[in-house]
C-alpha cells in the first residue's frame, strides 16, 4: 500500500471497474427501457415495417399511425383526464387536512390512525370488488363518471394521508408553535403556513395519485363499459380490435402512456422521499 506503483495499479483497477459498471448500466438501460423505446419507435413505422424481421432500426418515420389511432383516442383520454383529475383533487382536499390533524396535534392515537390508513392498502381489490359492483349497479352508477371517481378517492386518499403525514412531520415545529401562541386560527395555519411549506410534497403526492389512478385497471374494467371507459380499458380493447395492426396499436399505446410517464419523471425523487421517510426505522 505504501509504494507508489501499487497505488497507481490500484487506481487503474478502480477505473476499470468503473468502466465495467458503466457498461453493465448501459446494458440494463437497453433491457429495461428498450421495450418502451421500441414501442414508441414502432408507432412511427409503416404497417408492414412494424412486422419486419430482422427489425428495422433505420426507416422513414410516418405519422400515419398516429392519425389513424387518434379517432379512438380522444374520448377515453378525456374520460381519464376528468376521472383522474377530479378524484385526485378530492383526495387532496380530504387527505391534506387529515394529515395536518394527525401530524400537528399531539394525540396518542395518531400513529395508529396513520397505520390504519396504510392497512386499507393491504385490502385486496377483489375483497371489495363484488359488493362495490352490486352497490353501484343498484344505484345505477355503473359506467358513469362518478363510479371511478368514488373508487379512486377510496384508493388514493390513504396514500395522500400517509405521504403528507411524513412531509408535515419534517416541518420545523417552532414555526407552528409560534403561530399557535400568536392565536392564528387552524384553518389559517393550514392554508397560510403548512400548505405553502409542503408545496413540493403535495405536488409529488398528487402526481403519485395521478399515476395510480391513470394506470388502474381492475375496477376500471369492471365498472365501466362504453360511456365512461378510461384509457387503460381502451388499451385492452384496442389490443383485441387492432391486434392485427401492430404499428397503429403502438401509436395508440404510446399516446396512452404519455401522461403517467411524464408525471412520473417529474416526481421520482420526491416520491421516494415520501415513501421512505418514517417508514424506515
Amino acid at each position: 500500500m505504501s509504494s507508489v506503483p501499487a497505488s497507481s495499479e490500484k487506481r487503474r483497477s478502480i477505473r476499470w471497474s468503473h468502466y465495467l459498471q458503466n457498461v453493465l448500466l448501459y446494458l440494463a438501460v437497453v433491457v429495461i427501457f428498450g421495450p418502451i423505446f421500441w414501442l414508441i419507435l414502432t408507432g412511427f413505422k409503416e404497417s408492414a415495417a412494424a412486422y419486419a424481421l430482422p427489425p428495422q432500426i433505420l426507416f422513414t418515420p410516418t405519422l400515419e399511425q398516429y392519425a389513424a389511432a387518434m379517432s379512438d383516442f380522444w374520448a377515453p383520454f378525456l374520460h381519464s383526464v376528468i376521472i383522474v383529475g377530479v378524484s385526485t383533487v378530492i383526495c387532496l382536499l380530504l387527505g391534506v387536512p387529515a394529515a395536518f390533524a394527525l401530524s400537528f396535534y399531539h394525540a396518542n392515537t395518531n400513529e395508529s390512525i396513520v397505520f390504519w390508513f396504510i392497512t386499507t392498502k393491504a385490502l385486496p381489490q377483489v375483497a371489495v370488488l363484488v359488493p362495490l359492483f352490486v352497490i353501484f349497479r343498484t344505484l345505477q352508477l355503473l359506467d358513469t363518471v362518478w363510479v371511478l371517481i368514488i373508487v379512486f378517492v377510496g384508493m388514493n386518499t390513504p396514500i395522500v394521508v400517509w405521504m403528507m403525514y411524513q412531509f408535515m412531520k419534517d416541518l420545523p415545529r417552532e414555526i407552528l408553535e409560534a403561530a399557535q401562541v400568536d392565536g392564528v386560527k387552524l384553518s389559517q395555519m393550514l392554508l397560510q403556513i403548512v400548505i405553502p411549506l409542503t408545496r413540493a410534497g403535495i405536488a409529488s403526492t398528487a402526481m403519485l395519485c395521478v399515476i395510480f389512478a391513470w394506470n388502474e385497471f381492475l375496477f376500471s374494467v369492471s365498472f365501466t363499459s362504453i360511456a365512461w371507459q378510461p384509457l387503460s380499458v381502451e388499451v385492452a380493447a384496442q389490443q383485441t380490435s387492432r391486434g392485427q395492426f401492430w404499428a397503429e396499436l403502438s401509436a395508440f399505446t404510446t399516446l396512452a402512456i404519455i401522461v403517467p410517464v411524464i408525471v412520473g419523471w417529474l416526481t421520482q425523487k420526491q416520491l421516494v422521499r415520501g415513501l421512505t421517510s418514517g417508514a424506515v426505522k
Partner: protein, 308 residues
C-alpha cells in the same frame, strides 16, 4: 371509537388554548377522510363477507338469493383448480419479488456512483414503474414474445430455438417477469435511497481497515439496507399479490388456467360468471391469504433486521 379517544387526548399537547375546541377542530380536519375511506374500503368488505354466504347469480334473477352458509367456501376449497391458482398467486409473487430484490439491488449499487448522464440513466431505468399494467401485457405479448414478430422470439430463433413461445409454454414465469419489470424501479429507488443514507465515513473507515469492496457491501451496506428492504418488500408484496392487468392482456390467465391468480379468478367468477356469492368467497379467501403472507413476511424480516 379510536378517534373518540384521540379527540379527548388531543388536549394533552403543549397547547394552552381551549382543548375541547382544538379537539373539535382536529376532528373536523380528520373525520372526512377517515369516514369516506372507511365507507369506500371497509364497509364493502363487511358486505363481501355477507355475500359470500349466498348463492346468487346476477344473470339468473329467477333463482333468487339463497343462503348457503359456508357452501361457497366448501365448493371452492374442494377443487384442485382453486389450490393450483392459489399456489400460482404465491409463485408469481415470490418469483417477481426475488427478481425485484436482486435487480433492484444491482441497479442501486451501480447508480450509487458518479458517472456521465447519471440523471438521465436513472430516469430511463425508473420508467417501467409508470407504465400501465395492460401496456406491459401488450408489450410482452406482441412486441417481445409474439410467435410471429416478437423481437425476443426472433433472437431465440437466430440461436436455434425454434417454436419459442414462452407466453404459452411458461406463462407463470412470463407473468412474473412482467411484474418484476414494472416493480424493479421502486426497489431500485428505495435501495438507492438506503445506500445514499450511509455516511461516507463508515465506508472510508472500513476501507482503511483493509476491507475490500465485497466486505464493505457485506458488513456495512447490507445491514444498513435491511430496513429499506423490509419496507419495500412489504409494499411490493401488497401490490404484487394483486396483479391483474398484466395477466388480463398478456395471457388472459391461460393457457387454460395456468397463469391465473386469485385476483383474476375472482374477476372471472364475478364479472364473467356473475356468481356473486362464489366470487365474494374467493375475495374473502384472498384477503385472508394476503394477511397471512404479510404477517409472516413481517415477522421473518423483523427477526432478520434485529439480528443484523
Amino acid at each position: 371509537m379510536v378517534s373518540g379517544q384521540a379527540a379527548q387526548s388531543s388536549g394533552q399537547g403543549k397547547t394552552q388554548a381551549a382543548p375541547t375546541s382544538r379537539g373539535r377542530q382536529r376532528r373536523m380536519l380528520l373525520y372526512p377522510a377517515l369516514v369516506i375511506v372507511a365507507i369506500i374500503t371497509q364497509i364493502p368488505f363487511v358486505f363481501t363477507v355477507y355475500l359470500s354466504f349466498l348463492n346468487w347469480n346476477l344473470t339468473r334473477p329467477d333463482l333468487g338469493r339463497t343462503f348457503t352458509g359456508l357452501g361457497n367456501y366448501v365448493l371452492e376449497l374442494s377443487t384442485a383448480e382453486f389450490w393450483t391458482i392459489l399456489l400460482q398467486t404465491l409463485a408469481i409473487t415470490a418469483m417477481a419479488l426475488a427478481m425485484c430484490c436482486l435487480i433492484g439491488l444491482g441497479l442501486a449499487l451501480l447508480l450509487n456512483r458518479d458517472f456521465f448522464a447519471k440523471g438521465l440513466i436513472q430516469t430511463l431505468l425508473v420508467t417501467p414503474f409508470f407504465i400501465m399494467p395492460v401496456v406491459t401485457g401488450l408489450i410482452w405479448k406482441n412486441e417481445l414474445f409474439s410467435p410471429n414478430f416478437g423481437i425476443i422470439t426472433w433472437m431465440a430463433g437466430l440461436i436455434g430455438f425454434d417454436g419459442f413461445n414462452p407466453m404459452a409454454q411458461q406463462p407463470l414465469i412470463m407473468v412474473s417477469t412482467m411484474v418484476a419489470w414494472e416493480w424493479e424501479p421502486l426497489f431500485m429507488l428505495v435501495l438507492l435511497a438506503g445506500l445514499q443514507a450511509i455516511p461516507e465515513e463508515e465506508r472510508e473507515a472500513a476501507q482503511l481497515d483493509g476491507c475490500n469492496r465485497f466486505m464493505v457491501f457485506r458488513y456495512i451496506e447490507l445491514p444498513h439496507l435491511l430496513p429499506y428492504y423490509r419496507m419495500v418488500i412489504l409494499l411490493g408484496t401488497i401490490f404484487i399479490l394483486q396483479v391483474f392487468g398484466e395477466i388480463y392482456v398478456g395471457t388472459a390467465g391461460g393457457p387454460g388456467t395456468s397463469s391465473m391468480n386469485l385476483q383474476y379468478l375472482t374477476y372471472e367468477e364475478a364479472l364473467v360468471g356473475t356468481q356473486v356469492g362464489l366470487a365474494s368467497a374467493i375475495g374473502v379467501i384472498t384477503l385472508i391469504l394476503t394477511l397471512i403472507v404479510l404477517t409472516s413476511l413481517l415477522r421473518i424480516m423483523n427477526a432478520v433486521v434485529k439480528e443484523a
